[in-house]
C-alpha cells in the first residue's frame, strides 16, 4: 500500500514537472485547448486580428508608395504647366518673330508629349491614372480610344475601411475641349498661326488647368496624410494586440521556473523518502 501511494505520488510529481517543462520549452502557457479554454478562444481571436492588422499595414505601406508616386507626378505636372504659362506670356508678346513663336510652340509640344507620358505613369505594372483599368493606358500612345475609367482604386486598410489611393486621370487631364492636352494643342496651333487672341485666351485655360491639378493634388495630399496617420495607428494597434496575446498565452518565465524548481524538489524528496520506505520490513531484523 505504501509503495503504491509512493508510486502514485511520484507519478503526479513527474506529471507536474512535465507540464511545467512544456510551458518552459514552448514559452507558452497554453499548449492545448484544455489548458485554458477561455484563453485559447481569446488567443485565436487576437491572432486573427493580428494577421488582419499586419495585412492592413502592408496594404497601407503599398498605398503610400502609390500615393507618393502620384503626388510627385502631380508636382511635375504643376511645374510644367507653370512653364507653359511663362511660355504663353512670352508668346503673347506681339513683337515676337514667327520663328521664335515656332520655337515656343515646339517647346509646348514637347511639354504636351511629356504630359502624355506622365498620364501613363506606372507603379509596378499598374497605370496609376487609369482608374481601376490598371492594365490600360490613360492616353494610348497608338492613338486609340482610352479604355481607362474614373473608378477609385481602393486599398483595404482597416475593418470595412477602404481608402482611395488614386487620382482620377480623367479628372486630371480633363476632356478634349478644355482639358490640359487640348489647351496645349490649341496653344501650339495658335502660336504657329500667329493667332495672338487665341494665345491670350489660352492663358485663362492654363490657369484653370493648373488650378485643377493643384486641387487634385491637395485632395491626394489630404488622403496621404490620413493614410500615414492610419499606418502609425496600425503599428500601434499591432503592438497592442501582440502585448495582449502575449499576456494571454505566454508563460510567465519567472513563475514557471520557480514552480519547476519547486516541483523538482518535491520529486527529489519523494524519491529519497521512497528509498527509505521501501527497504525495511521485519524480515530485515530477524535472524
Amino acid at each position: 500500500m505504501l509503495s503504491q501511494n509512493l508510486l502514485r505520488n511520484l507519478e503526479s510529481a513527474q506529471g507536474r514537472m512535465d507540464q511545467l517543462q512544456n510551458q518552459l520549452s514552448s514559452g507558452h502557457r497554453i499548449n492545448r485547448p484544455s489548458d485554458d479554454p477561455v484563453g485559447i478562444q481569446n488567443a485565436m481571436r487576437l491572432k486573427s486580428n493580428i494577421s488582419s492588422v499586419e495585412q492592413w499595414k502592408s496594404n497601407a505601406n503599398e498605398a503610400l508608395d502609390y500615393m507618393n508616386t502620384a503626388d510627385s507626378t502631380l508636382g511635375d505636372m504643376t511645374s510644367m504647366l507653370q512653364r507653359v504659362r511663362e511660355l504663353t506670356v512670352q508668346g503673347a508678346n506681339g513683337t515676337l518673330a514667327t520663328v521664335d513663336k515656332g520655337a515656343i510652340a515646339d517647346e509646348v509640344d514637347q511639354i504636351s508629349n511629356q504630359l502624355k507620358m506622365m498620364a501613363n505613369t506606372q507603379v509596378g505594372s499598374k497605370y496609376i491614372f487609369s482608374g481601376t483599368a490598371t492594365d490600360k493606358e490613360l492616353i494610348p500612345l497608338d492613338g486609340s480610344v482610352s479604355q481607362a475609367n474614373g473608378m477609385p482604386v481602393n486599398f483595404e486598410v482597416g475593418n470595412n475601411l477602404s481608402i482611395d489611393v488614386s487620382v482620377s486621370g480623367q479628372n486630371l487631364f480633363g476632356n478634349s475641349t478644355s482639358g490640359v492636352l487640348a489647351t496645349l494643342n490649341n496653344l501650339s496651333a495658335d502660336l504657329r498661326s500667329g493667332n495672338s487672341v487665341g494665345v491670350n485666351s489660352a492663358l485663362g485655360n492654363i490657369d484653370a488647368n493648373i488650378d485643377n491639378v493643384v486641387t487634385l493634388r491637395a485632395g491626394l495630399g489630404a488622403r496621404t496624410n490620413r493614410m500615414t496617420a492610419l499606418q502609425a495607428q496600425l503599428d500601434y494597434t499591432s503592438g497592442n494586440l501582440q502585448d495582449n496575446l502575449s499576456s494571454i498565452q505566454d508563460a510567465d518565465m519567472a513563475t514557471s521556473i520557480t514552480d519547476f524548481t519547486n516541483a523538482q524538489n518535491v520529486y527529489k524528496a519523494a524519491l529519497s523518502v521512497g528509498a527509505k520506505i521501501i527497504q525495511p520490513s521485519l524480515v530485515d531484523f530477524m535472524r
Partner: protein, 495 residues
C-alpha cells in the same frame, strides 16, 4: 479418568494445527505480490472438551486445538465500492484518453493549425485586393485555399478514423465481456462443486473477484450472492453478476449470457457503428434486447458516447464551418465579374458543403484568372476586399445573409471556430478533472481494500514466529509426554 495417551494425542493435534497455520502463513508470504490475492486466515479453535466426572460433578477438560476453517480477509461492501469507483474512474479515463487524442488532432494553438490556415486565407484575399492584376497574388489565393481545404479534409478524415478506432474498441470490449462472462461462469461451477463438498475454495474466489474487478472496468457491475436453498446443511452460494443500469444479468450461477455487436448504423465517412445487444435471454432480458448502460460508467460507455455523440457533433461543427466558408465566399464571388466578363462564377464548388469534401470550383482550378476580384476591370479589388473582410464579420454580405450567418456563426467564422475549440477545451478539462477526482477516490477505496485484504509482511513474519514457537512448544510437550511415559514404563522395575 481419561487415557494415558491423551496428552500425546493433544500434542499431535497441536503440532498438526500449528503446521497448517505455518503453511498458510507461507502461502500468504508467497502471494504477497499476487494481483487480487486475499490474505488467508487459519481459524484455530479449541476441540470439544472431554467431560470428567469428578466428585459428583463434571469437569470439562480441554482437549487441544484443531483447524476449523481457512477464510479470506475480505469485505464485500468494500468490494462493491471498489467496483463502482472503478467503473466511474475507467469511464473518465477512457473519455479523457479519447478527447485528448481529438485535441491532438485539431492541433490548436500552433502555427500549423486550421485557424492559422483560415487567417492566411483571408489575408491572401486582402493581398489580392490591392493588386488584382498580379497573377502571383492570384496563385497565392488559390494555394492558400488548397491549404485550407486540405486541413479541413485532414481533420475530417482523422475524426472519422478516430470513430472507426473507437468502434473496433467497442467490438473488442464486447468479446472481452463475453470472455469474462464465460470465465466467471466456469469458476462458479468449480466453486459450487467445492462448496457442495464442504470446502471453502479461497483461491478460486480470489480469481473470481479478480475477474469481476476486470469486468467493472468495462461496465458497471453488481454482484449478488445468495444462499442456494437446495443445501440446508452447508453453505452453498448462488453467484449472480448483473451489468448495466437497470441491472441485466450477465452470469447467473452456471449460466452466462453473451453480448454481440450488430452493425446497425452508418457513421462518419461510411464508418460502421456497432450496437451492443444481448445474444441470449436471461432473467431480465431477451435475446436481441440492446444493452442498456448507466450514466458515466465503464470504458464501454465512454467509447460508445464519444463515438456516437461527441465525434459526430464535432464533425458537424467542422461541416458547418466549411459550409459557412463556401456559401459566404461564393455569395460575394458570384456577384463580381471576371476579367473576361464572365459573371456568377463560384469560387468553391457549391455542391461540396462538408469539411471532408470542400473544394475549389473546377473553373478556379483550371485557371487562376477566373478568380473574381471586382466588377471586371483589372485593378478592381472590391470583391476581394469584401471576401477578406469576412475574417472579421458579415458586413460585406447582403442583409439577409448577414442575419442568417449571424444566427449560425455569431460574430464571424473565425469566432465560430474559436468557440468550437474552446468547447472542446472545456470538455477535455472536465474529463481531466473528473479523472483526477476519480483517481483519488479509487485510490482511497483501493487502500481501504488493501489494508483489509492485502498481505502485510510484518504481520506474516510475526505470525510465523508465533506459530513456530507454538509448534516448538507442542513438540516439547511430546518430549515431555515421552518422559512421562518412560517413567510409567519403568515403574516397579528394580535394578
Amino acid at each position: 479418568m481419561n487415557s494415558t495417551f491423551f496428552g500425546l494425542e493433544l500434542s499431535r493435534r497441536a503440532l498438526e494445527s500449528q503446521q497448517v497455520a505455518l503453511n498458510i502463513t507461507g502461502h500468504n508470504i508467497a502471494n504477497a505480490n499476487t494481483q487480487g490475492y486475499t490474505r488467508q486466515i487459519a481459524n484455530l479453535t479449541a476441540t470439544m472438551p472431554d467431560t470428567l466426572p469428578a466428585m459428583g460433578r463434571n469437569l470439562s477438560l480441554g482437549s487441544g486445538v484443531t483447524l476449523d476453517t481457512i477464510t479470506r480477509a475480505r469485505d464485500s461492501f468494500v468490494d462493491r465500492q471498489f467496483r463502482s469507483e472503478t467503473s466511474k474512474q475507467s469511464y473518465w479515463t477512457a473519455k479523457q484518453d479519447s478527447l485528448t487524442k481529438v485535441e491532438d488532432i485539431i492541433n490548436e494553438p500552433s502555427d500549423n493549425s486550421l485557424s492559422n490556415d483560415m487567417n492566411q486565407f483571408w489575408t491572401a484575399w486582402s493581398d489580392l485586393s490591392k493588386g488584382p492584376e498580379n497573377s502571383g497574388a492570384r496563385s497565392v489565393v488559390r494555394e492558400r485555399t488548397l491549404t485550407l481545404t486540405d486541413s479541413l479534409h485532414a481533420i475530417s478524415t482523422q475524426i472519422s478514423d478516430r470513430q472507426n478506432d473507437l468502434d473496433s474498441q467497442v467490438n473488442v470490449q464486447i468479446s472481452q465481456i463475453n470472455v469474462y462472462a464465460n470465465q466467471i461462469k466456469d469458476i462458479n461451477d468449480q466453486i459450487k462443486r467445492a462448496e457442495v463438498s464442504g470446502d471453502n475454495p479461497n483461491d478460486l474466489r480470489d480469481s473470481r473477484d479478480s475477474l469481476v474487478d476486470g469486468l467493472s472496468k468495462l461496465v458497471n457491475v453488481r454482484v449478488t450472492e445468495t444462499k442456494d436453498p437446495n443445501f440446508t446443511d452447508r453453505q452453498v452460494n448462488i453467484y449472480r453478476v448483473d451489468i448495466g443500469d437497470p441491472a441485466q444479468t450477465l452470469v447467473d450461477d452456471g449460466v452466462a449470457s453473451e453480448l454481440e455487436g450488430v452493425n446497425a448504423a452508418t457513421g462518419l465517412g461510411g464508418n460502421g457503428i456497432t450496437v451492443v445487444q444481448w445474444k441470449d435471454s436471461n432473467n431480465n432480458h431477451n435475446a436481441g434486447d440492446s444493452l442498456v448502460l448507466g450514466q458515466a460508467l465503464g470504458t464501454l460507455q465512454a467509447n460508445i458516447e464519444t463515438r456516437d455523440t461527441f465525434l459526430t457533433a464535432l464533425q458537424g461543427k467542422y461541416d458547418t464551418l466549411a459550409k459557412g466558408i463556401v456559401t459566404a465566399v461564393n455569395e460575394l464571388h458570384q456577384a463580381g465579374t471576371t476579367g473576361t466578363g464572365t459573371t456568377n462564377v463560384s469560387f468553391f464548388d457549391a455542391n461540396n458543403l462538408t469539411a471532408s469534401t470542400i473544394s475549389l470550383d473546377g473553373s478556379i482550378t483550371a485557371d487562376i484568372n477566373n478568380i473574381v476580384t471586382g466588377a471586371g476591370a483589372s485593378g478592381d479589388g472590391s470583391i476581394a476586399t469584401a471576401i477578406s473582410s469576412l475574417s472579421s464579420g458579415w458586413s460585406s454580405l447582403i442583409a439577409a445573409s448577414q442575419v442568417a450567418n449571424k444566427t449560425t456563426y455569431g460574430t464571424s467564422l473565425g469566432d465560430y471556430y474559436g468557440s468550437t475549440v474552446a468547447q472542446l477545451g472545456v470538455d477535455v478539462q472536465q474529463a481531466n478533472r473528473m479523472k483526477a477526482g476519480e483517481d483519488v477516490l479509487l485510490t482511497n477505496v483501493t487502500n481501504q481494500r488493501e489494508s483489509n485484504s492485502g498481505v502485510s509482511l510484518d504481520e506474516e513474519m510475526t505470525n510465523l514466529v508465533k506459530f513456530q514457537k507454538s509448534y516448538s512448544a507442542a513438540a516439547r510437550m511430546v518430549t515431555m509426554m515421552d518422559d512421562m511415559l518412560s517413567t510409567i514404563m519403568n515403574m516397579g522395575i528394580t535394578r
